[in-house]
Symmetry: C2
Subunit: 385 residues, 2 copies
C-alpha cells in the first residue's frame, strides 16, 4: 500500500424528505445563493422544498448552469455573489451544478485572474479561502457531492479544479428526488460511477485489500442495481444503492494508497468538448478500447477484475481478460449507453483533431504510469471506432 | 437502506516515517500534552520521534494510562491540563490511550460534575466544547483513531463516551510503529476489528449493498492478513492492511444505514470489568455463543456471512450457519485467542454476577432489536463455558 492522506469532512444527510433539516445546517443569518441548472428542479418541486428549508434567510437564485458548466456562465454568478454579499452557496442539481458551484465558491473571493484557477490540473488551486458551499444532489453520478473536485469548460477545453476548501459542508442525498430523472441520465450516471471506480482500481497492483474489496463491491452493486433502477425508477432501495454507490465511487475512500489512471476521463473530455458527446458516453467509448490497447500494463488488475467482479474463472489469461472487456462493454450497452465512436457519428478522419486537442491541453503522458502518449491515445480511439 | 447521517472529519496520515509532519498539523503556539500508556512508546523510540515532530512547542507528558482507562487516572490528566493551560492533546498509543485522551478532551473544559460524561450511553455527552485532540496510533485494533467514541472504566463498569467533538483532528497510522507489538496484542487487535465489523453486519438485512460488501471485504482481509502478520510481524503490506482494516472497521463507513447490534461488546465489557479478561478475548468468548443462541434472529445475515466471507455453499441452512460459527471460533483460536469462559478460569457459578452487573448497568434490552434480555445473556454465557 502506498502512503496516503485521507480527509473528507463533508457531512452526508441521506434519506427521504429531510430538506427541512437545511434550517439547522446553514447559519441563520446567511445570505444564500441557490444555484441550479435548466429548471427541472423547479418543475418537479425540489426547488420549492429547498426554499422552504431555507426559511427566512435571504436567498438569490442563479439558474442556467449548463451540462459541462462553462466558465463564462459561472462568472455571471461570481459577479452577483460579489455584488450582493452572498456568503453561502447551495447547489441543487447534478454534477455540473455542483461542479459549477465549487468554481463560484473559489472564484468569488479570488482577487487574481479567475482563469488562473483552470490552470492547475490535479494540483490544488492557489486560493487561501473559498465561500462555504453545500449541495442537494439530484443525480447519482459524479460524486461531486462528497469530493473536492470540479471540471469546468473553457474555450473548448475541460479543466479540473481541485481544492480541499471545496468539499461541500454537507450534501443531501434523497433517492426520491431522483425518481423523475430521464432514463438516459440514470444510465449515464451508472456508467460514470462505474468508470470512476475503474480509474482507481484497474491500474497496477498495490496490495491495498480494503480499497480493492470496496471497489469490487461498488462495481458489483452497480451491475446489480443499474438495470433494476432503470426498470423500476421508484424502487427506493435500488435507487438508494445507486446513489450511495455513485458517491462512494469518488469520495476518496477507494482511492487512497493506490495508483490512479484517469486517462479514460482525459481522452473522454476531449470527445465532449469537440463533439458534444455526453461525459458518460465518452467513458463508455474509450474504456473498452483503452483496455484492449493497455492489456499488458493492466494485466494483473484486469484478471482480478474478471474474477472478482464478473466471476470469470475459466479460460487462459487472454480469454479471461477479453471476456471481462466484452462483459463491461455489454453492460454499458445493456444500459443503453453506446460504446463506439461511430454510434455518435464520429469517424476515423476526426481522430486527429482529438489528438491535437490532447496535445494542446498537455495530455501527453497519461495513465497510472505516465506512459500513455498521444500515439497510444490515437490507437485507442481507432480501436473505438 | 435506513436513512443516515455520516460525517467523519478526521484526517488520516498513513505511511512510514511521517511523524515530522506533526509540525505542520499542530498550531505553532500550541501547549501540548502528550499522553501515553505504560512506557513501551518510550522504550521503542516512538515517543522521541513524536517529541522531535513537535519541535519547539511547549510539551507536557502524561504517562500511565492503563488498559481499560480509568476515570481516576484520566482526572489526574484533566487537573494538569487545567492548571497548565494545555490546549492540544496528542495521544500516542493504542485504543486505551486514545479513548482516555478523548475523555480528557471533553472533561477538561467541562464545568459540571465530570462523572456526568459517563452516563449518556451511546447518546452524545452534554458538552459544547472539547479540547482539540489527535493521535499517533500504535496498535491496530479499536478504530478509536478515526471515530468519536471512547470507553472509560469507572467503579467496576465500562462506560461509552460519545461526541462529534471527539473526532481526532488527525491520526498518524504508521505500520512500522506496530512491528514491535507483542503477538498477543496483535491477535487481540485482529479479533477486536473482526467483531467490530460483525456487530454492524450480522444483524438484520437492510439492503445496504456497499456497506455489506465493504464489511465482507474487511472480514476477508482480516482472515488473510491476521495470520500473515502474526507470522511475519515486519511484513509491511500485511501490517498496513491490518492497520487500515482496523480503522475502517469502526470509522462509521460500514455502519451507515444499517442496524447495529453491540450486545457482544456490552456483555464482554462486564467480563473485563469483573474478571480482567482482555477486551478482545471477551468478544471471542461471547460472539460464537451469542450466534448459537440468536440463530433465528440473525438467520439471513449469518447465511450471507457464511457464503460471502467463508465461501460456504453446501449443506442446509442449519449446517451452513453452524459451519460459519465453527469457522469463526476456529479463526479466533488459530490466532491464539481462546473462546471459552473456562479457558480464563470463569465457572458456571460466576455467571450470575455477570447478569447482575448487566442489570446494574441497564444492559437489559440489547441487540439490533432491543430484545436481548438478561435471561438470554445468561443462556449465552452458559453456552460459552
Amino acid at each position: 500500500m502506498q502512503q496516503f492522506d485521507y480527509h473528507n469532512p463533508t457531512r452526508i444527510v441521506f434519506g427521504q424528505d429531510r430538506l427541512a433539516e437545511l434550517d439547522q445546517l446553514i447559519p441563520a443569518d446567511a445570505r444564500v445563493m441557490v444555484l441550479y441548472g435548466g429548471g427541472s428542479v423547479k418543475r418537479n418541486g425540489t426547488l420549492d422544498k429547498v426554499l422552504n428549508g431555507l426559511g427566512q434567510r435571504q436567498v438569490i437564485e442563479f439558474a442556467g448552469i449548463e451540462p459541462n458548466p462553462r466558465y463564462e456562465t459561472l462568472m455571471q454568478a461570481v459577479e452577483i455573489v460579489r455584488d450582493e454579499g452572498i456568503n453561502f452557496l447551495l447547489a441543487v442539481g447534478g454534477g455540473s451544478v455542483m461542479d459549477g458551484t465549487k468554481f463560484v465558491a473559489a472564484a468569488a473571493p479570488y482577487s487574481g485572474d479567475t482563469t488562473d484557477l483552470l490552470k492547475c490540473g490535479f494540483e490544488p488551486i492557489p486560493v487561501s479561502t473559498a465561500l462555504p458551499l453545500a449541495t442537494v444532489a439530484t443525480l447519482p453520478a459524479t460524486g461531486s457531492e462528497m469530493n473536492m473536485g470540479a471540471v469546468i469548460s473553457y474555450e473548448g477545453g475541460k479543466y479540473p479544479v481541485m481544492s480541499p476548501l471545496l468539499f461541500p459542508r454537507f450534501s443531501f442525498l434523497d433517492p426520491t428526488l431522483t425518481f423523475s430523472l430521464p432514463p438516459k441520465q440514470v444510465a449515464n450516471g451508472v456508467v460514470d460511477a462505474f468508470v470512476h471506480v475503474l480509474e482507481q482500481y484497474v491500474t497496477t497492483p498495490a496490495g491495498a485489500r480494503i480499497q480493492d474489496r470496496t471497489a469490487e463491491g461498488i462495481l458489483r452493486t452497480l451491475i446489480e442495481v443499474g438495470p433494476q433502477t432503470l426498470a423500476q425508477p421508484e424502487d427506493y432501495d435500488a435507487r438508494a444503492n445507486l446513489m450511495w454507490s455513485a458517491t462512494c465511487a469518488l469520495n476518496g475512500f477507494i482511492g487512497v494508497g493506490v495508483p490512479h489512471d484517469w486517462s479514460t476521463h482525459m481522452i473522454g473530455h476531449e470527445l465532449t468538448a469537440l463533439f458534444g458527446i455526453d461525459h458518460a458516453q465518452t467513458l463508455a467509448i474509450v474504456l473498452p478500447s483503452l483496455w484492449q490497447v493497455r492489456k499488458e500494463q493492466k494485466r494483473a488488475k484486469l484478471l482480478q477484475y474478471a474474477e472478482q467482479v464478473w466471476g470469470i474463472q475459466s479460460g487462459d489469461e487472454e480469454q479471461r481478460i477479453d471476456q471481462a472487456i466484452a462483459q463491461t462493454r455489454a453492460f454499458f450497452e445493456s444500459l443503453g449507453v453506446k460504446t463506439r465512436l461511430s454510434d455518435y457519428g464520429v469517424e476515423a478522419e476526426q481522430i486527429e483533431t482529438v489528438i491535437d486537442a490532447l496535445k494542446a491541453h498537455g495530455m501527453v503522458a497519461l495513465s497510472e504510469s505516465g506512459d500513455l502518449t498521444p500515439d497510444i491515445s490515437r490507437e485507442i480511439l481507432r480501436g473505438a471506432l
